[in-house]
């Protein structure tokens, strides 16, 4: 049993995947000699060679496009998109091919696209986006967003070893979040949510970077004698509706939280699903928390844009006071 950061857990998962299967390839912009702008691939090129861990030219559409070709040839590509905001040039390759090529060819496309996502890092434009809803709405993709080092390791291993394409969103603001990681560990299946903290009064449903925020809120609520249950979705597509609905049927109150703007965000799917499946059990409307419906703001204002423990606790009071 050892304590590692979320970032190091991802590095370990890549290292172990490269060691276990010579078909695994890691590539992208600056992932080689530099080891990635977040150092996630640090040391991998040195240890596995330039054929298996390599830098590409600056072209995201091609990075994903060659991943399709490499997968069709029998490899397991694990491309990195340097920042969330730079996945957009690859959108056509992802939506028209990564998501649909199996359906067209009958062939397996074991591609895992790693994307550091989310804000709270004081960055300039395009470096703090949360584009997960675009991909969750795209049939044929699996979309994952871990919140802990153990899940980051386990879910990434599962994604890379699996036969289907996965968009793997890494909460970049949590790369230094520490947690326990015991290796070898049992595989973490995709599509299974996790009760990050059991509670009884309100279900707070989150994923990625917001799980930690929800846990902070839960701790403070405890002090006020309010027991929050924190549900960590882990995987957006497939979505573990059963776990979410079971939690809400227990608490009768739900808050969904993510960093992306609320309008049309993934929280809408979760809220719509809860409102439908737990209709007779809800004692208050499902509350959606998220970023404001504006482009991601300058760094000095991002704390006003993003949900935090205060806003979650406010929502808790509202939902409990409803009616």
């Amino acid at each position: 049993m050892s304590t590692v950061t979320l970032g190091k857990a991802i590095t370990q998962a890549l290292r172990d995947a490269l060691a276990d299967d010579r078909k695994v390839l890691v590539f992208g912009e600056d992932v080689g000699r530099l080891g990635g702008v977040f150092r996630i691939t640090d040391g991998l090129q040195h240890d596995f060679g330039e054929d298996r861990v390599f830098d590409t030219p600056l072209a995201e559409s091609a990075i994903i496009g060659i991943s399709v070709g490499l997968a069709l040839r029998g490899f397991r590509p694990v491309p990195e998109i340097q920042f969330d905001g730079f996945i957009y040039p690859a959108f056509e390759q992802i939506v028209s091919h990564v998501a649909k090529y199996e359906n067209r060819s009958g062939l397996s496309l074991p591609i895992t696209i790693r994307v550091p996502f989310g804000g709270n890092i004081g960055a300039v434009e395009h470096h703090s986006e949360s584009p997960e809803a675009y991909f969750a709405h795209t049939a044929g993709l699996k979309v994952v967003a871990p919140a802990t080092p153990a899940d980051a390791y386990g879910l990434l291993r599962t994604a890379i070893a699996g036969p289907d394409p996965v968009i793997f969103f890494e909460p970049k603001a949590r790369y230094y979040l520490k947690g326990e990681l015991e290796l070898p560990c049992p595989p973490v299946p995709l599509g299974r949510a996790r009760i990050a903290r059991a509670g009884s009064a309100v279900s707070v449903i989150a994923y990625g970077p917001m799980v930690e925020t929800a846990l902070q809120a839960a701790q403070r609520a405890d002090a006020e004698g309010i027991s929050l249950e924190v549900v960590d979705l882990r995987s957006l597509a497939p979505l573990d509706v059963d776990t979410v609905v079971a939690s809400v049927r227990k608490t009768h109150h739900a808050i969904v939280v993510h960093e992306a703007p609320v309008f049309g965000g993934f929280g809408a799917e979760v809220a719509a699903r809860i409102s439908h499946d737990a209709f007779d059990s809800l004692e208050a409307p499902v509350v959606r928390l998220g970023g404001l419906n504006i482009p991601y703001p300058p760094a000095r204002f991002e704390k006003l844009y993003l949900p935090d423990a205060d806003r979650i606790l406010q929502a808790v009071d509202e939902t409990l006071a409803y009616g």
């Binding site: 054929d51 091609a62 060659i66 070709g69 040839r73």
Partner: protein, 339 residues
Amino acid sequence: MPQTGTANHGLTREQLVDLYRKMVVIRRADQEALNLQRQGELGLWGQFLGQEATQVGAIAALQDSDWVVPSYREFGMAMCRGIDPGTMLGYFRGLTHGPWDPRRYRFLPFAISVATQVPHAVGFAMGCRLEGSQDVVLCVFGDGATSEGDWHEAMNFAGVFRAPVIFLCQNNQWAISVPLRQQTAGSIAERAQGYGFPGVRIDGNDVLAVVGAVRTAADRARRGDGPSLIESVTYRMGAHTSADDPTRYRPPAELAPWEARDPIARYAGWLRAQRIVDEAQLAAIAMEADAAAQAMRATLTHLPIPPPGASLFGRVYHDPPASFLKEREEFEASLEPPP
């Protein structure tokens, strides 16, 4: 435009005749597919009339172990790879997105989104190189495709990674209604040097010129010397697709000079002059082509409609989530006639 080269690239008489046979057979199939579309048997058809030399010559220059990454107009190439044309037409009949097993024929699915297949070909070729395999990849696209960002990114990657790929542009002068001069002010073939590999422009209506150029590029790739770009200059004698009306944009005078360069008539003339074929053989090949076209029609019109459940849900995931399987069950249940 040069005359048909006399270089026969060491092809045997049989091989030389086979090039002719294949051009005649795919043209006849193309014509039959158009008939089928007009008769309502196909939703859409995109003719390759006039481009037979490029399609037959390119495949003839490859080894069976090599791979082909097509756009949507390479039906003739697919036939040359042995894919059953009647079954393939199931795609244009709206029965399936993927009528053949790409591994069996080493021929990837049609790519409708222009130029998006080019990076696939490069990645595939990078994989061949990583394996130390001798396989090379033929990547085919049109003149319009060279304007897309994906085309450029893939060309540059191929140069950097010395991928064993042959970029074959079927420059048929038009992208739907947009003529080449409005597609680019530059030269397609000359772009290759900007990526660090050779580019050539060839007479795409001269089947032997195509065989020669593709073979040179394939040898180069197999040697480990990397990619090549071939701009095969030809002409789209038909409409863009059965949904298109070229009379709205194409000057009629444009066709005559290209008819004079018809790849099949030209090659037939050369074969005759070389005394490689006689009229009897030519007539036999024409009959063979008719028979093949009729067989294609029969296959198509008897294609069963695949089961909806498998067609819609069967190939989306290799490891389908439980929720997805549940949706499939509900869907299939909804198909059963209410009791």
